[in-house]
């Protein structure tokens, strides 16, 4: 077995800088990611940080331990080191930007990275909030060599712009120790791995504190010393967990791990680099998410007709922004136009801190639907139009009328959302063009030109009423639907245009 372990030591910081940089040149969101694939054996995978002097110092601070856990190069130049307290960091650089450390957020980002890698590698294990293990030996055969496989993986990682340390070994445990030790070498030869592993310090192992102390006391400081010990000797002195760990470290057992499985829906999460107060500034981040969605859909030959943005706030419950399209779509541009119309009127209750795009329902792209007949195109244009109008004016503002099964003028026409239910075709020349919201008292002098038509209300309606309907014309030539109720009061109810 051969496992690679990726130790993403500053994943929160990387995501922060990625969102920052992607939005600063968001106007050309298509032209990003121009990083060359990196080959085997490169010592580090840090990308050239082009304008080191301009990036502000950023640190990630863990509140629980009061330690700085991640810092960027600008912060390093100010002398801030990992392990410093907040006060020390603030003293060294008053203008430092602080991001709170959150294990759960890091795990979410890691899951997203796993989603990204999944099309290339099958067996992924999410080991901790900042570690990924990938099984390599079963893939080498498909890629035609270690070199090809590893360059595929590193290329994908460089596109996702994360910094990481890595190592390969015969088991996850061994690879983890080497990655924590910043080995950063791809080795498939057993002896080389053994050599590299033996140099690692005992403190990097996942043994519990007590065991580590006990081992240090007898002068064991490096892994090679530990591995040189015969197992039965150790078994007498240490508990079962230690022995299990040691056998795993030697690669003598088959690992029992849960492999990562991608979710069936699309979900992408972004931490906003700063609190955003209006939707206008939120749009670039939404575009970014739509871009991820477009990649996701394109890779799977899918499209969707509904997506949902979750906007999270510090205190206020999160807002859900649903965007529907009459026609399933997959590209960023088509969704962007709807998104812009949708959020134009949205007001955020308080500054937003994070953003998530979720999409549950997908439709496969039908290869036969793309024909060139004008009617088919017309249908597409109609649906697009309805989608656009709904996005800007709201769902209730547009409707297609339908007839209902009644003779009463008030209930004849029903507004229905655009769907296809069977029609009830019925025509009547005494039905007016327009009906008022409610009958108005008749105040003008009119001349009756048609009528009477006596209509009773249906017995299943609560109020029974009897009305005599007429068509009458005013002096200006306006023809109205009027009626006389049971109390001989005259009312105007509609107009004939």
């Amino acid at each position: 077995m051969l496992w690679a372990y990726l130790y993403l030591h500053q994943i929160t910081l990387d995501t922060h800088e990625k969102t920052n940089s992607s939005v600063s040149n968001s106007s050309k969101y298509e032209t990003k990611n121009k990083i060359q694939p990196q080959g085997i054996g490169k010592t580090t995978n840090r990308h050239a940080q082009q304008d080191k002097s301009q990036t502000p110092p950023v640190i990630v601070y863990c509140e629980k331990t009061n330690r700085i856990v991640q810092r960027n190069n600008a912060a390093l130049q100010h002398g801030i080191e990992i392990g410093h307290g907040l006060a020390q960091a603030a003293a060294l650089c008053p203008k430092v930007c602080i991001i709170p450390f959150n294990k759960e957020d890091e795990r979410l980002i890691l899951v997203q990275l796993a989603h990204r890698l999944y099309p290339f590698v099958s067996d992924i294990v999410i080991d901790a909030h900042n570690g990924l293990a990938i099984r390599l030996d079963n893939l080498v055969h498909y890629y035609g060599g270690h070199k090809e496989l590893w360059s595929t993986i590193t290329h994908e990682l460089s596109l996702s712009k994360v910094n990481y340390h890595y190592a390969t070994a015969w088991s996850i445990e061994a690879a983890r120790i080497m990655a924590l030790n910043s080995t950063d070498q791809y080795q498939s030869d057993r002896d080389n791995i053994k050599h590299l592993l033996s140099q690692c310090s005992l403190s990097l192992t996942a043994l519990d504190k007590k065991t580590k102390e006990a081992l240090t006391r007898v002068g064991i400081a490096y892994v090679n010393q530990l591995l040189a010990m015969p197992v039965h000797e150790l078994g007498r002195r240490f508990d079962n967990n230690t022995i299990t760990y040691l056998t795993a470290l030697r690669g003598e057992t088959f690992p029992h791990v849960t492999l990562f499985r991608p979710a069936e829906h699309f979900e992408h999460f972004t931490l906003l680099p700063f609190d955003i107060e209006n939707t206008q500034h939120l749009t670039p981040f939404m575009v970014k998410l739509l871009d991820y969605l477009a990649h996701y859909l394109r890779a799977r030959n899918l499209q969707t007709s509904m997506l949902c943005f979750h906007i999270d706030f510090r205190e206020h419950p999160s807002t859900h922004l649903e965007i529907k399209s009459a026609l399933p779509q997959s590209t960023v541009d088509s969704w962007l136009s709807l998104l812009k119309l949708r959020i134009e009127n949205e007001v955020l209750p308080e500054p937003a801190v994070s953003l998530m795009l979720r999409c549950d329902h997908f439709e496969t792209i039908d290869g036969n639907s793309g024909d060139f007949f004008s009617n088919a195109f017309n249908e597409v244009a109609q649906k697009q139009l309805i989608g656009r109008l709904n996005a800007k004016l709201g769902e209730d503002c547009t409707f297609q009328p339908a007839a209902s099964d009644t003779h009463q003028f008030e209930y004849m026409s029903i507004a229905r959302a655009s769907s296809n239910t069977p029609e009830l075709p019925f025509t009547s020349d005494i039905v007016p063009t327009f009906l008022f919201d409610s009958p108005k008292p008749l105040t003008q002098s009119t001349q009756v030109c048609f009528g009477p038509v006596r209509l009773h209300s249906e017995w299943w309606h609560d109020a029974s009423r009897k009305r005599d309907y007429f068509i009458a014309q005013t002096l200006h030539g306006v023809r109205m639907l009027i009626f006389k109720d049971e109390d001989s009061q005259w009312w105007a109810q509609g107009l004939f245009s």
Partner: protein
Amino acid sequence: MNKSLSTLENHPHIWRAREQNQQEERFSLGFEQLDKALNGGVSTSGVVRIRTLTGIGELSLFKQVISKQRSHKLIVFINPPGHIQTPWLATFGIDAKQVLIVKPSSEKDSLWATEQCLKSTACHCVILWNSGVNTKEARRLQVAATHNDALCLLFTLPNTSIKHSSAALQTLPISLDLCLNYQHHALQVSVIKQRHGWPKDNIAIQNDWTPNNRAIKWALEHNKVKRHALHSVS
């Protein structure tokens, strides 16, 4: 000087009144006098403004144009002055599936919606009710309509334009401008302005757009005769 004038004269957008016989396709309204005054009917695309009261048969005047042409495309009603009745649509000859009703909350939104509908290429005819448009808005709608081969009927009330008398005098850059009123038991159509044609006042249209009691009257008259006969028998 002469030469530059002649190049100007050759410009295709310059129209001379003597070029009457335009080979442009037009939608007939179905009223002989009116079609004659309009050189065959309304043009197939562009904006038509109709200043009229609601309910004097202003939609029925365009019945042929709205219901008989380009029937596979949408007919959009924007900001109608009441609830449009589905049975009336059927009587009018429109399939309710081809109808979209839009009720925006403001005039600005309704103009936006009109422009979107015209631009979508999915609409045969967009019928808008509002309180009047200015030159810029009219130009936008006209361009959107002509470029996408759609018709826009713009209904405004006559009194609103009297209020802004300067706006009333101002002609809009649109295909056709009509004014309707009801006089002498007939609908009077005044052509205020039309492209490639002359204005004309008070064209009387006999248009029955509602049922009348003529049948009943006729029946009563016949009944009278019969009753008379009945009387003579008894």
